[in-house]
Amino acid sequence: MLRIDKLNFSYGDLKVLWDVDLEVRDREIVTVVGANGAGKSTILKNVSRLVRPSSGALRFGDVDLRRLASHEVVELGVVHVPEGRRIFPEMTVLENLRMGSFPRATRQDRARNIERAFTLFPRLKERQKQLGGTMSGGEQQMLAIARGLMGNPKLLLLDEPSLGLSPLLVKNIFEIIREINRQGTTILLVEQNVYQSLRLASRAYVLETGRVVLSGTGAELLDNAHVKKAFLGM
């Protein structure tokens, strides 16, 4: 579904990604784990075309993503839920959701998708008239994911959805990610919460200072000595 080959990327003189290869297949949950600053978010930004790679190939199905602008990637069904939620602060919850279905092809499903979002996140239904900027971090994260789902994603890119949430909410968010996947959406998840995300993943990649150092199924990596030592404190 998504294929990344030999992706290199630099912020000015600072090289961030080195020959990254990554694949996401239909219906999978693939996670990229690694420390802060390893370049995880940068991979997602390359896919959603917020940044331009120095070299390498990015393909979604048989479409070359390097030829597209950000909004065209969204129209293909690749939706990026960014780090830090990035809720429109002066729009209500409902308006934020409506913006998620801005692409013309998704507008006909708007009412149904809003219902679906309210079923997944009942809290959002209670808060629908509230301004996005006045909600708590956990509520904003729910809204960010719900807003992403409004665009009928085939592939959902999730960047650190657990960041800054209480342990209970983290558990909740991971359950919801699993549920979204069960309903048919492929997921590429980037996380610092290594344990939880490896448990969830069909396959995973470990990223260290911009290089993929390990890959395998979630279970394999949970058992890996290096992963245990470096990320799980065992």
């Binding site: 960014p82 809720i87 429109f88 602060p89 913006m99 998620g100 801005f102 665009g151």
Partner: protein
């Protein structure tokens, strides 16, 4: 700066000394003068608001302050004058031609020039927009000379008498049209997908891209709408102001004050700011001195910057 010394003439003709016949009214003459100047201030302020809303929309979406904004008002005035002079088209009707023309012109300016400096340093953006303004005002001067033009309609100096308070007809019409345009604009920004996309772009440009919004397109649209509002304002005031190539600079400055006063990027703030500036000018002209009204406006502006730098409705940005 030249612009500080330059007040907008014309309005004074109709408003400044507007002390009507007061005999036989129940309210005292002082009260009548007060009400008169408040009313005049609100009417002019409405048009100012229209200019300010355009500038604040452009700033909100692009983070570029358009220092050519007054020149867009000026173009609107000349276009209206031309349509009246050659085709006898009423200035209030000509809005339906002037606003779309300025929309296209603004969208062109954004695409051809402003779009290239979106990531540039603020001082470079300012140089560009000031330059565009100079080209426009000097272009008009080449074509029409720097002579003052007056657009005199049958109702240019007519007024209604409202219980002893005189209400200038052209300013009242201008105000009513302004209210209608503002209501339509609010509806567009709040209710339509395209309008919401413009607001989304202003609130978080990158997140807007991730929603599938083409921000290059919303930017062009916002500049076009801003220019159309400036042009409409130009058309609305053409029956009451002198029309000359340099008239724009005073409006640029006024619009800038309005936008900062309301909070950079806030459409509601600009609406409020426009009315406040109109009121301040009008009251200052009556109670202090006609020549000092700009001074009062700028003192008020500086005081606001000292005590509430984010503007009346602005958010403090990190």
């Amino acid at each position: 700066m030249v612009a500080f010394a330059q007040s907008v003439p014309g309005a004074v003709l109709i408003l400044g000394g507007g002390v009507p016949a007061l005999a036989g009214t129940e309210l005292g003459p002082r009260m009548m003068v007060f009400l008169q100047s408040v009313l005049s201030g609100v009417l002019v302020g409405g048009v100012y608001a229209l200019i300010g809303i355009g500038l604040t929309m452009i700033f909100g979406v692009m983070r570029v302050t358009n220092f050519a904004h007054g020149e867009l008002v000026m173009l609107g005035m000349y276009l209206t004058w031309g349509l009246f002079h050659w085709l006898r088209l009423d200035p209030f009707l000509s809005i339906v031609l002037v606003a779309p023309a300025l929309f296209l012109w603004g969208a062109f300016l954004q695409r051809a020039f402003v779009n290239r400096v979106l990531d540039a340093l603020p001082q470079n953006q300012i140089l560009l927009t000031i330059g565009l303004g100079l080209v426009m005002s000097n272009g008009v001067m080449l074509a029409f000379t720097s002579d003052y033009r007056i657009l005199t309609t049958s109702y240019s100096s007519a007024s209604y008498d409202l219980a002893g308070i005189s209400v200038s007809k052209p300013l009242l019409y201008a105000f009513l049209v302004t209210v209608a345009i503002t209501v339509l604009l609010y509806g567009f920004l709040l209710r339509t997908d395209t309008g919401q996309a413009i607001r989304a772009t202003a609130q978080d440009r990158e997140a807007a891209q991730l929603m599938g919004i083409n921000v290059r397109w919303t930017s062009m649209l916002a500049f076009g709408i801003g220019a159309a509002l400036a042009g409409a304002a130009g058309a609305l005031i053409s029956p009451t102001y002198y029309i000359f190539p340099q008239v724009g600079s005073a409006f640029t400055l006024k619009a800038f004050v309005i936008v900062v006063l309301g909070g950079m990027g806030s459409v509601v703030g600009a609406t409020l700011g426009g009315v406040i500036i109109g009121l301040t000018e009008s009251l200052a002209a009556v109670y202090i001195a006609g020549g000092l009204k700009d001074l009062v406006v700028f003192v008020l502006f500086l005081a606001l910057l000292v005590f509430k730098p984010s503007g009346l409705l602005g958010k403090t940005r990190a």
